[in-house]
Symmetry: C2
Subunit: 248 residues, 2 copies
């Protein structure tokens, strides 16, 4: 059930201790980070691993929320739909990120894999039981939840008060920062999602996203090596746009 790579990494790090998952304890935005080895061992007992192919569904809005999970490999989009099919992407999540936390019994949004994705899943009911013993879990989940809240509030400002160029640049800089945070190079910025996904994240249309890429490229703010690889050429201009320094 547990992936060989997981076992390998784990034995390096924790000796023979059964681990929650290899990626988790090394990364920032996971349940496991900040837990003690023996607490990790407790967690490990209830963990299962899962693989989801590119474009596969992790879960859907309204489904019973049976697991919370860490992404240990790949990339995921989270989204909500309106009745007539309009879609708003709430965020993208990558290796090391944590998803699936809900207030009620059901997921509040849908999640789909952008690329082949590996998950480390914790059954909610069993995690619930562990809470009594592992106080740090609630503390940790609270930290993660607040981080997510702050990021969502930033997204709110983007959607409510930024124009198309500012939105796209903000998004690119965010992706670049996320790459650095998980130990990858900051450049080029990799876009594992489609233009449609970007549009639904930024509250724009595919065409506007495309045109805005072109405009930024022509002005020398960014360079597009290909559709999915971006470099920031004029960082000062980019950061001014993202910060909303009034057309400056």
């Amino acid at each position: 059930m547990v992936h060989p790579e997981t076992l390998r990494l784990v034995s390096q790090r924790l000796g023979s201790l059964p681990p929650p998952c290899a990626a988790c304890d090394a990364r920032e935005r996971t349940v496991c980070a900040a837990l003690e080895p023996q607490e990790l061992a407790e967690l490990a007992r209830i963990l299962t691993e899962a693989e989801v192919p590119a474009h596969g569904t992790l879960f859907r809005e309204g489904e019973p929320a049976e697991h919370v999970m860490n992404i240990t490999r790949g990339a995921v989009k989270l989204y909500r739909l309106l009745a007539d099919g309009r879609r708003q992407i709430l965020g993208f999540r990558f290796a090391g990120d944590f998803i699936g936390l809900t207030a009620g019994a059901e997921y509040a949004y849908s999640a789909e894999a952008l690329t082949a994705t590996r998950l480390c899943r914790f059954p909610r009911r069993r995690l619930e039981a562990l809470r009594e013993r592992l106080r740090r879990i609630d503390r940790r989940l609270l930290e993660l939840s607040i981080d997510e809240l702050v990021a969502t509030q930033e997204h709110l400002v983007l959607l409510g008060r930024k124009d198309a160029e500012e939105r796209l640049v903000s998004f690119l800089l965010l992706l670049g920062q996320a790459q650095v945070r998980r130990g990858e190079p900051g450049e080029p910025i990799v876009l594992p999602m489609s233009r449609g996904d970007i549009a639904d994240y930024l509250g724009l249309t595919i065409e506007t996203v495309s045109r805005t890429f072109t405009a930024l490229r022509r002005r020398g703010v960014i360079a597009l090596d290909d559709t999915t690889h971006v470099r920031v050429l004029d960082r000062a201009a980019a950061e001014a746009l993202a910060a909303g320094t009034g057309s400056g």
Copy 2:
């Protein structure tokens, strides 16, 4: 220091036990709800009460986050600013709501009173110390944080994918629900905030908000008793708009 009304309500509920605050333990979105009497007593030791006049500032984005707090009376707006002054209101909070939770050492947004407001404040450092003894606190804060996250995601859909009418109707219905949740009548819907505040919440301009009110009124979806009191006349139409049933 503790308000007389607080004391009166408290003695009714908890006998002579010193309470964290009267409103808190009766309301949903507070730290205190779901705590045991003796835990409340612990909390009470670190509590202070504060009054903020209408339009007064509770705290500003970037300030050291010294307190988390419950609103026990009044209404508050939370907002963030862009460098050039554009403003996005993140949400409105009312009696019974909880604010000020942050990941880092500083507030992530600013908070201003819409009306005269009373607060029940918990110094963060001392709350921190209590965490070791009162496990339920983290659990409770987690619940509150997740609720807030879900509400913010809903706001994201509103800003990213709804048109002006849908935004305004969604907002009105939300306010109505909030009134019911805190035990007030669902109608009329009371608007303690200005048109400018509504605009900055909905990602629109004052003029568009005003025109949209007029349009909804003319179509018979709502009635405006005066600037600050709204009734929903055609609930089916209103809910269809809010749900985004494609121009239905």
